[in-house]
């Protein structure tokens, strides 16, 4: 097994042609993890025995049932890693925090169950910023994660290990969580495809909560086609999540010449790195050449988005972390890292009586204004095209001393979470230093098909997504 087919369809083709067995496939990935992850630190737990057992079971199934298994199990043999926020029954789940260092969940999250039932093979739990707080992968209590394209650089965050593991071919698919950009930004930094679905489309049940009104269960893949196949399984009703809406996905692109793409002026202003601007505008030009109409749009409240996000998000974080009070999970509150403590204090402050109206309530009102901005924009355009991060990947340690500059790196991603709309990050090229740069498409709620259709057109005509780091 030298050259792997880097898509779900390709893997299925190889398995059908018996180029390798599921067990051989899993062993291939395990060997790569063993060989290369020491320096990247993308996994916190590798579930070797668990994965091999599942693989043997699938090999038997393939023998006994033949190719029907690919219909019964749409993600048959898809080797999958989960950000260590997804609860996995019997398998340690830490949220990359010392507080949960020894926590073995009694149940699995809905997404894990759905994917395993569809044929995914769980190969391990990925490292991330502790509690998903961060945009660089440096906040993990179990050591920072490195960018596979250059180990001096950060891989983005907080779903750092998930992005790194897909980029490095440690797995075919990895699940992440996106509260303010935590799937799209590491996807962009590592050169993979990352989806943040519509809020309320994928169940949050059984995933360690960061900020409940913003958290979206997304995934990272090598290409758009895989992203679509995974969402097909993860989306939809869950009796345990009251916010899930059963909605048929919309937004198919039948004729690209009838599509209007909006460039939010407020996302291309000061603070945007020139290399990023060039690559993102090149992507826009690509769609224009295909026949789409490109127009400028206004999202006038964008300048408040980061402020609103850093009020609502810490408020919910402080509330959600209250349960780790030292009574039930073995380790005391001293085990919280600095970033978690910072957010707990900030969140408790903005909710305090006397300050609630000034901060939380005001932020909630501006959030409504942001929603109106997007409603107005989508009255004019079908989809928005924007940068993911204002800069290409930065060096490890570059921003750790200045949390505020780290927060500002979220400026182009947080709005989608505050508004609840989906976003798809796609590789758009490389910086002078050979590091990936991405762009994102943002559509109306439940219009994921628009993102997938346009993303597939882009990837059919470019090869940024198929380039891999040399490890």
């Amino acid at each position: 097994m030298n050259k792997l087919n880097l898509s779900i369809a390709g893997t299925h083709k190889d398995l059908k042609e018996k180029k390798y067995s599921v067990t051989e496939l899993v062993k291939y990935y395990l060997a790569r993890i063993a060989k290369y992850d020491k320096n990247l630190n993308s996994f916190l737990t590798v579930t070797t025995d668990y994965a091999l057992k599942a693989a043997r079971k699938q090999d038997n199934l393939l023998v006994s049932q033949g190719e029907g298994v690919f219909e019964d199990f749409p993600l048959f043999g898809v080797v999958t890693a989960f950000k260590d926020l997804y609860l996995t029954e019997g398998i340690r789940t830490t949220a990359a925090s010392r507080v949960l260092e020894n926590f073995i969940p009694q149940y699995s999250s809905t997404v894990v169950k759905k994917l395993e039932n569809a044929g995914c093979i769980l190969i391990g739990k990925t490292n991330c910023d502790a509690w998903a707080h961060g945009a660089s992968g440096e906040n993990s209590d179990f050591g920072p994660i490195k960018n596979p394209w250059n180990k001096d650089f950060v891989p983005g965050g907080s779903s750092s290990g998930s992005a790194v593991s897909v980029a490095s071919d440690f797995c075919l698919v990895a699940l992440g969580t996106d509260t303010g950009g935590s799937v799209r930004q590491p996807a962009s930094f590592c050169g993979v495809t990352g989806l943040k679905p519509t809020y309320g489309l994928v169940s949050r049940f059984g995933v360690v909560a960061m900020a409940s009104s913003l958290d979206c269960m997304g995934h990272l893949t090598n290409n758009v086609g895989d992203s679509r196949r995974v969402l097909e399984v993860t989306k939809g009703q869950d009796q345990f999540d009251s916010n899930i809406q059963s909605v048929k996905l919309a937004g198919e692109v039948r004729d690209i010449k009838k599509i209007t793409i909006g460039l939010p002026k407020d996302y291309f202003g000061q603070g945007l790195d020139n290399q990023v601007r060039t690559k993102v505008l090149a992507a826009a030009r690509f769609f224009e050449k295909q026949g789409a109409k490109i127009v400028d749009v206004d999202l006038p409240h964008t300048k408040y988005a980061t402020s609103v996000y850093y009020i609502i998000q810490p408020a919910e974080v402080a509330s959600n972390l209250g349960r780790y009070d030292g009574i039930r999970y073995g380790l005391s509150r001293d085990s919280f890292g600095d970033e978690a403590k910072r957010r707990i204090m900030l969140g408790s402050y903005v909710l305090s009586s006397g300050y609630y109206d000034r901060y939380y309530l005001k932020a909630a009102r501006v959030r409504t204004k942001l929603i109106e901005d997007f409603d107005k924009a989508f009255a004019k355009v079908d989809v928005l095209l924007a940068p993911v991060s204002p800069t290409p990947p930065f060096k490890l340690g570059e921003k750790t001393a200045d949390p505020l500059s780290m927060y500002l790196a979220d400026v182009y991603t947080v709005s989608a979470n505050l508004v609840g709309v989906p976003g798809l990050a796609l590789p758009a090229g490389f910086s002078d230093q050979g590091l990936p740069i991405g762009f994102q498409l943002i559509s109306q709620k439940f219009h994921e098909n628009m993102l997938f259709d346009l993303g597939e057109i882009f990837q059919r005509n470019t090869d940024y997504h198929s380039q891999k780091p040399k490890l």
Partner: protein, 436 residues
């Protein structure tokens, strides 16, 4: 100069619902005399990643109570998180209602009491329970989460009571109503009804600027005693010209008075904010109207109804207090409306036949079987019929004028004489035959 003093009392009542499942998960809500931590799941243990799902019946129940107390039902309502740390609160917050409770602005009127404003009635989840125990020589505080997440109603009144008698009368009425609506057992000794009173004494027409909270009181009797002794204590302090501290006090039976538990120097900060895991609840007016239309009759209406069916006033008063028994009696009547309900009601109250025969059909079958107990010898029956006809000559006349329904009246008189014995169908037939 002696000031005219006026006690000011407001109440907070917690009522635990008797729904089958908990407020936000599918665990059984029953927690009394259940082995510790057996009725739990990720949701009510507050495990990472768990999410609440609201219990529809619990919402319906609180709306019924609100309607029964004449409250305004808020068609837009939502849950909020109330934060505090305590070992029996596994999430670090309680899901409750802060800004938009289901019911507000109700009013309770009683014949010989001032009317009471119901400020609000809201829905929340109960907490777990701490058990302090010595295990293997070690003093431990253990947590039992069986009660965690049980649906809890909180009812808050205005500061509208002036005496402990008014308080007790109101609370007894509330207990009667919730039992009658079938939404709680309201057993004080099992903690399914919990009482708190805010007591102050006013020297003017206005409300005083302090209040003393009386907490952790588990019977009407002790609450009345606590209120009385608290009014006396505060009155004495006022006469002595002393300031009364804002604090929480409990009732000490041995001392016969209230004791300070906690001084409230500053208000607790619960950092409320809207619960993001639960979408706001929007009720339609039609739904609320439907609930109102189908509300069960009030306890006194029901007693009158039972009495009209021949049930003794005494038995009716007892049965009305127990929703299950009342339903049982209704079931009996719906199976056979000619049955002697008075005797059945007496059997339920005195012999617990509803416990012996879980299915009312079985009870009726057993009565038919042992008909001897209820039936009369023919001679006896003839004797009673004769007596009734002699004592009510006007009835016989009415019958001849075509008012055949007078037989029902005669049957009633007969049953009074026979103490409920005798097959009503047969007796009616005999009256018919005699009068024809």
């Amino acid at each position: 100069m002696k000031t005219k003093l006026r006690p000011v009392i407001g109440l907070e009542v917690h009522i635990e619902q008797n729904t089958k499942t908990k407020m936000f998960c599918g665990c059984p809500a029953i927690h009394y005399a259940v082995p510790a931590n057996t009725h739990t799941c990720p949701v009510c243990l507050g495990l990472p990643g768990a999410l609440p799902k609201a219990n529809k019946l619990a919402v319906e129940n609180i709306l019924k109570l609100g309607l029964a107390l004449g409250c305004k039902i808020n068609l837009y309502s939502k849950f909020d998180r109330k934060h505090y740390f305590y070992p029996d609160l596994p999430k670090g917050y309680q899901i409750t209602q802060y800004e938009a409770p289901f019911c507000s602005a109700g009013r309770w009127e009683a014949p010989d009491s001032p009317s009471v404003n119901i400020t609000r009635i809201h829905l929340e989840e109960d907490t777990g329970k701490l058990i302090h125990k010595t295990v293997g020589g070690q003093k431990l505080s253990l947590v039992d989460f069986n009660r965690s997440g049980v649906p809890l109603i909180e009812l808050v009144t205005g500061p509208d009571f002036e005496t402990s008698e008014q308080v007790t009368a109101f609370l007894k009425e509330i207990r009667k109503i919730v039992r009658h609506l079938g939404i709680s057992t309201a057993d004080m000794d099992k903690g399914s009804m919990r009482l708190e009173a805010n007591v102050s004494v006013s020297t003017t027409k206005k409300l005083p600027d302090y209040k003393v909270e009386l907490k952790n009181i588990n019977s009407f009797k002790f609450l009345a005693k606590a209120v009385d002794s608290e009014i006396a204590r505060q009155t004495k302090l006022i006469h002595e010209g002393k300031r009364i501290a804002q604090e929480t006090r409990g009732f000490d039976e041995a001392a016969g008075g209230t004791l300070s538990q906690r001084t409230k120097e500053e208000a607790k900060d619960y950092r409320y904010f809207p619960e993001p895991d639960l979408p706001p609840i929007r009720l339609s007016q039609e739904y609320v109207t439907g609930l109102k239309t189908n509300l069960p009759k009030s306890p006194s209406e029901t007693i009158h109804e039972l009495a009209s069916w021949g049930v003794s006033w005494q038995a009716a008063t007892i049965i009305v207090k127990d929703r299950a028994r009342l339903n049982y009696l209704y079931d009996v009547r719906s199976i056979d409306n000619s049955v002697d309900l008075k005797s059945i009601a007496n059997l339920i109250v005195n012999k617990n036949v509803d416990k012996k025969y879980k299915d009312p059909n079985d009870l009726l079958a057993s009565i038919v079987k042992s008909a001897g107990n209820l039936s009369l010898e023919a001679k006896q029956m003839t004797k009673f019929i004769n007596e009734v006809l002699i004592e009510n000559p006007k009835a016989a006349e009415d019958f001849r004028l075509g008012k055949t329904n007078v037989v029902g009246f005669l049957l009633g008189k007969f049953m009074q004489k026979s103490a409920g014995r005798g097959d009503p169908k047969e007796v009616s037939k005999r009256f018919f035959d005699r009068l024809k």
